[in-house]
Symmetry: C2
Subunit: 334 residues, 2 copies
DNA sequence: TTGTACGCGTTATCAT
DNA sequence: ATGATAACGCGTACAA
């Protein structure tokens, strides 16, 4: 165990145990037709020499890596990390390993990552990245990479998708708010480059208000707790209140804290909704009313679907996760 | 772009452009000695056929994947996700890709993951996993896998490490607390299987109190916000106060919230310290006094060190990150 | 039950 | 400047 070994090959194992490499291969892969005592002998030499098969050579020979490519903008967001964990959970259970391709929110990087996914010979891919459109997806798909796309409605011969539905819940929430005498004006916090999910929510927000004939506001904000907190400290104080719809918990918490620190009451004067809720919605104070989707479950489901796809066994190529509204203390009960 | 292509090989490119595969290989790898117009011709066919080299075959031939194995218990903790992001950042910059091996806090799984790391042929590995001890690390290392170990003091021919130092800051904090008339009794929240980092902190906590002749408490708690919150709601109310030292932000927030919701004042009656602070220390209210280490920076540093190791260029095999005490509102200023 | 020989898609070393 | 040809480490028909 001390000095660095040269890689032991199947051939050396064969020679050392006096058989051909075919027999060793049979032992490794548990194919039958090998006499118990030769099998034992081979296994002993394998142990003695510390032989580990080369996944590379195996993959080249079988055209199967046991490797799933995961394309995400970054692992830095809690909800993405949660999904990653869900994926990794069932991947491990099924004997796959995950290779990470991060795109850092840039279309250019996303494209080069696509190239790498193709050259890397993954058995399949899970893509959760707004930088990639249908055309890009089909490109990687044309290289025989079965793919599950998250948060993008794309299906095809080798493509399935997992969708989020925040829209219905959001519309319902807005309508009921006004129906039950909600008196504050609503503000949607627009994040530049916030991605498809946020865009859809914003559109639903605008459409609903238009059709109700209610006034509304769109305000730009940075996708950062600190900046949002400072930007809104002044704004909120001036406005004296409002109902704010935010992309994620940290943004929502920024609004909440800015309000509280300005002496405004949440939810009496300022109400806040977090669209993509995580466990932190329950930790910050006041607790955040949020739309929640179990991202770990999204990850697990994606991976299961991908495995079915690999086995040509995926019948329902599209699956939709419905968000749940969890009312907590950042909004008034009605 | 419509139908699924069979994989185009270098040989087909060679034939289609009327040269030998050796020439194509030269074009791909930008080796010189190839006439401009043949080069152009080859490049045209590559584009036309949509040829992508097989990373597998390249790796087999060159004995270099551009693949770094990352071994972590899970991606579900914010500080681990942050580190992962740091790693991924410089990995991408340097043309590497990350393969994830998650161990789920089980020694058995950790061992099988080690096997997989070896068979997977990574160029190097970064390990941040308390399940793995020096012996395990040296095992993977004996298979010529250069390794950077995080939070474990191991160095060797092909092994370097990145260390955390929470201890000094913690001891200093405790000593100054009592020196400046701190009157509460301190409680260290012990998490079963909390890992090396927590153990070291606990030991430092105990030792410091022993040597000061001060009373102290060790209390078991679950590594979960919800359970800790409920468990401590009663405890805290009964005790009526105390100074609690917690592993992470979510645990610290659980104590804080349990205290606040029981009508106790933070930090007047209950003081809280979070050992492994993240950005959430600044978001929860009251904001959490915490020891902080920039985990993204840890990730970046680890990856840089690994690259140096790969180039036989790593002189200082051990690097230590010193935690910073950030005093916020969960402790009384002194 | 076991062995031979070929293929997987590259790189690299020779010749030419 | 270009082309054969041998590795790289393994799986697998086919033969024995």
């Amino acid at each position: 165990m001390k000095n660095i070994k040269e890689r032991v090959t199947i051939y050396q194992v064969a020679k050392a145990s006096g058989v051909s490499l075919a027999t060793v291969s049979r032992v490794i892969n548990n194919k039958g037709n090998v006499k118990p005592d030769t099998k034992a002998r081979v296994e002993e030499t394998i142990r003695r020499l510390g032989y580990k098969p080369s996944g590379l050579a195996q993959a080249l020979a079988t055209n199967k890596t046991t490797n799933i490519g995961v394309i995400i903008p970054s692992a830095n967001y809690v909800y993405i990390a949660n999904m990653l964990n869900g994926i990794s959970e069932v991947a491990k259970e099924k004997g796959f390993v995950l290779t990470l391709f991060t795109t850092s929110h840039s279309h250019e990087e996303a494209l080069t990552m696509i190239e790498r996914v193709i050259t890397t010979h993954v058995d399949g891919a899970i893509i959760f990245d707004d930088e990639l459109d249908a055309e890009d997806i089909m490109k990687i798909n044309s290289y025989s990479v079965p793919t599950i796309v998250v948060n993008n409605k794309i299906v095809g011969e080798q493509v399935g998708c997992v969708l989020f539905s925040y829209k219905d819940q959001l519309v319902k929430l807005i309508e009921e708010y006004y129906a039950n005498g909600g008196e504050k004006e609503m503000t949607f916090l627009h994040v530049h480059d916030g991605g498809r999910l946020l865009q859809h929510c914003e559109k639903a927000f605008v459409d609903t208000h238009e059709s109700l004939g209610r006034p509304y506001h769109i305000l730009n904000c940075d996708d950062s707790y600190t900046r949002t907190y400072h930007d809104f400290k002044d704004v909120i104080e001036k406005e004296g209140g409002g109902y704010f719809i935010c992309y994620r918990d940290s943004i929502a918490a920024a609004i909440e804290n800015a309000a509280t620190d300005s002496g405004l009451k949440v939810p009496e004067q300022v109400e806040v909704l977090s669209l993509v809720g995580t466990k932190y919605a329950n930790i910050v104070r006041p607790t955040l009313t949020s739309l929640q989707i179990d991202m770990a479950e999204v990850g697990r489901r994606s991976m299961y679907m991908l495995i079915d796809l690999l086995n040509h066994d995926l019948i329902e190529k599209s699956y939709r996760f419905e968000a749940t509204l969890v009312e907590r203390d950042s909004t008034k009960p009605r």
